[in-house]
């Protein structure tokens, strides 16, 4: 339990998907123009991570490892992710048309969001670690904690950036740097700030 909690907190701050590993950067930069849409995407990413990561954990431990088929993991993981995203898309379309309208094109993009696939691949590496290691994922509870933490970290990062970009609308940025360029530099500065969490321990 203690281990899962530590894993959870570390994956939000020290091992933040965006600032430490650059995962999910494409949609992170493209969708962070307003706080509202970015919060929607953040929730969607957290939700998909929370389903796909434990499913992939079970597949890795109970199917791939015993059969010695680890080299098929890329194909299997991406198929699971694509299928689950498809289901989530249909459910959201049915129960919340307004959310579907605002996320629109971005829901299918979650299938190719590096944060989702990256979460599963990191999980695959962390299964092999010594259980004493703070980064190890030893059971299904840890997999949930890691997925939730990574999702919340991603959510927080995209909402923060969207807030800054909304404010930056009023600033006088040099012409060639406008839009993308300044966004990169902003994210760089945010990543520097997040580096101070790297020694975090519970």
């Amino acid at each position: 339990m203690e281990h899962a909690l530590s894993l959870f907190v570390r994956s939000i701050f020290a091992d933040n998907m965006i600032f430490a590993f650059f995962l999910g950067m494409c949609s992170y930069l493209a969708v962070s123009k307003t706080v509202k849409t970015s919060a929607g995407l953040g929730v969607a990413v957290t939700f998909v991570l929370l389903i796909t990561l434990p499913v992939n954990y079970l597949l890795q431990v109970y199917v791939l490892n015993p059969l010695n088929l680890s080299y098929l993991s890329f194909i299997l993981f991406i198929a699971v992710i694509a299928a689950i995203v498809q289901i989530v898309e249909m459910v959201v379309e049915k129960f919340s048309p307004s959310l579907y309208a605002s996320l629109g094109i971005f829901l299918p993009l979650i299938a190719v969001n590096c944060a989702i696939m990256g979460g599963s691949l990191f999980m695959q590496q962390r299964i092999l670690l010594d259980p004493e290691n703070v980064k190890a994922i030893a059971n299904i509870g840890d997999a949930f904690a890691y997925a939730l933490g990574s999702g919340i970290g991603w959510f927080m990062a995209i909402v923060c950036l969207a807030g800054i970009r909304e404010k930056m609308e009023y600033n006088d940025v040099p012409k060639p740097l406008q839009g993308l360029g300044i966004t990169f530099i902003t994210v760089g500065l945010m990543a520097m700030a997040f580096m101070c969490f790297s020694g975090l321990k519970i």
């Binding site: 600032f19 995962l23 999910g24 194909i75 590496q125 060639p176 990169f184 760089g188 990543a191 580096m195």
Partner: protein
Amino acid sequence: MLSQKTKDTLLGPLNINNPVVVQVLGICSALAVTVQLKPALVMGIAVTIIVAMANVIVSLIRNTIPMRIRIIIQLVVVAALVTLVSEILKAFAYDVAMQLSVYLGLIITNCILMGRLEAFAMTNNAWDSLLDGLGNGLGYAIILVIVAFFRELLGSGALLGYQIIPDSWYAAGYENCGMMMMPAMALILVGCIIWAHRSLNKEEK
């Protein structure tokens, strides 16, 4: 020898239409593998090969793919190619494969691949798709190499693992910039490359 159109298809992505700095695709791995030049080179080559081959395969079977499930089919084609490349790298360049770690697998979700497959290979013939894939892969590789060049030179005073900054400089008080090894500087460097690229290409727009 090449017609104007094929030339544009091949060379456009290198500069005017660069996938990384103009279309903002495939940023994740572009930033993560650029601490040193060697993994960046390997990554660039791997992505170029995979984009070109995936483009050709999808372009050949494009008329038989049902529209509704095309994303999954494209993903499976890409995942199969990435699995091949990663097994080859593990066999012949184990240390680089370990350095690239999960980012090798993340080529599957590299937006350049899906972007090119959706936007180009689904509507064009195999030869054009091959050129388009090569062009985009090389455009990606160029940015990777530029970022990695600066990060390795300033961060550890070396290129491809060989020391470049002479010992006398260190004796005179020169120090490596540790910041360059941090993820944050990769973002800022790409930001600066975009800045320079846009300033240079301003007249043409």
